[in-house]
Symmetry: C2
Amino acid sequence: MLSQPVNRPLPMRHFAEELPAAQPDGEPSTPVRAMTAAGEANRERILDAALARFARTGLSGTRIEAIAQDAGLSKTNLLYYFRSKNALYLAVLTRTLDMWLEPLRAIDADRDPREALGHYITAKLEAARDHPEASRLFALEVMQGAPMLSAVLATDLKELVDRKVALLQLWQAEGRLKPHKPHHLLFQIWATTQHYADFATQVEQLTGASLADPVFFQQTREAIVASILGAVLP
Amino acid sequence: MLSQPVNRPLPMRHFAEELPAAQPDGEPSTPVRAMTAAGEANRERILDAALARFARTGLSGTRIEAIAQDAGLSKTNLLYYFRSKNALYLAVLTRTLDMWLEPLRAIDADRDPREALGHYITAKLEAARDHPEASRLFALEVMQGAPMLSAVLATDLKELVDRKVALLQLWQAEGRLKPHKPHHLLFQIWATTQHYADFATQVEQLTGASLADPVFFQQTREAIVASILGAVLP
DNA sequence: GTCTATAAGCGGATAGAC
DNA sequence: GTCTATCCGCTTATAGAC
């Protein structure tokens, strides 16, 4: 749809998306619109800063000037790289989504259910530990009705989940999983693992620990694995 | 600290709280500051509308004019009842908090652990079904670091949780629960039950159902009870 | 208690020089 | 690519009449 920051005036407030235009690998030798190394580095710093801010204060609660400061440039300069706050927000969402869905994709039909699900839980909990902002970003977005992401959820996520649900049903038919509505299994895994990222403030206030503590991480992992796998394995 | 809307000018943007001044039961016969029946009804309608809006779009994403319209009065008039947006937000939070913590308080030492925890899970899931906005409101608040609520969480909630954790540890010592860090049991219950409220959009998109559907509710309840109680009961 | 009018300030976005 | 200056709309909040 769109590609790079084209400075044409728009009559109304535009919500046009500037998806970061899948940069061709290798040096930016393309004559059409070359992105310098410094430029690319700025882009990345902006996206990192934006993720942190949006995950903490949401879209409307975040001022682009704060993001710019975190990234070490001026507000105007940030708007050179991203045409609008919404464009930046969307860029952050899409950049993070693939990474976020990766563990689910990795659930493998060839593996043993116990092993595959155990790996999935561990991977999700590691993601909650290593990328809590990503978890919170999506949680904020989905909780507000996914205004910017509903299309992707309804298509990409739905498709992916449908495939994995079919796999779980297959395992059930083979007697390798107890009969259950498979969605609940997924929801329980998502809910419990992401809780430790999304509600980290509360978890720390109540226990004094976080997933960053290896002992606490192991405890948590075992608690989740025990309850969820215990319920679905025959 | 403060009580009713006093119209004194404030030099800086004020975050002073107008906690709703625990209205004495019975008719407003107090001569000091009587609240008419109509006034009280307005207040309630505002609070209801505010809960719905804040839960959906957050504090900064909500315009008080939208709340006013939902409640059927003008923005100016809303500000007659609540001195500021922040005051209104705080009033909504505090009004909802007690209701939200009630199920946890109800966990009873005299009951059988299986029964007590089963009831707790059911009550939490009913709350997620009947008051999803309350769930989302607190989720939004806590996920953003609980800027307005951290004091209450650190004292009231902490105290309440500490008491219940002690009870769970007692049950463990008596051999009526498997040894486990009790916090994880609570977190799992919170996470799974609240997930169906907080991520209702996603749940509906993926399953086509919601907790409002009695069949789906039962399915969900049984899945949660099975996994969580299965793991902690001896 | 409710309305009209308006103050006051913030924050996103653009223009244009360098 | 980065900066300075500035515009403009939006939203909270207040003043004051009725």
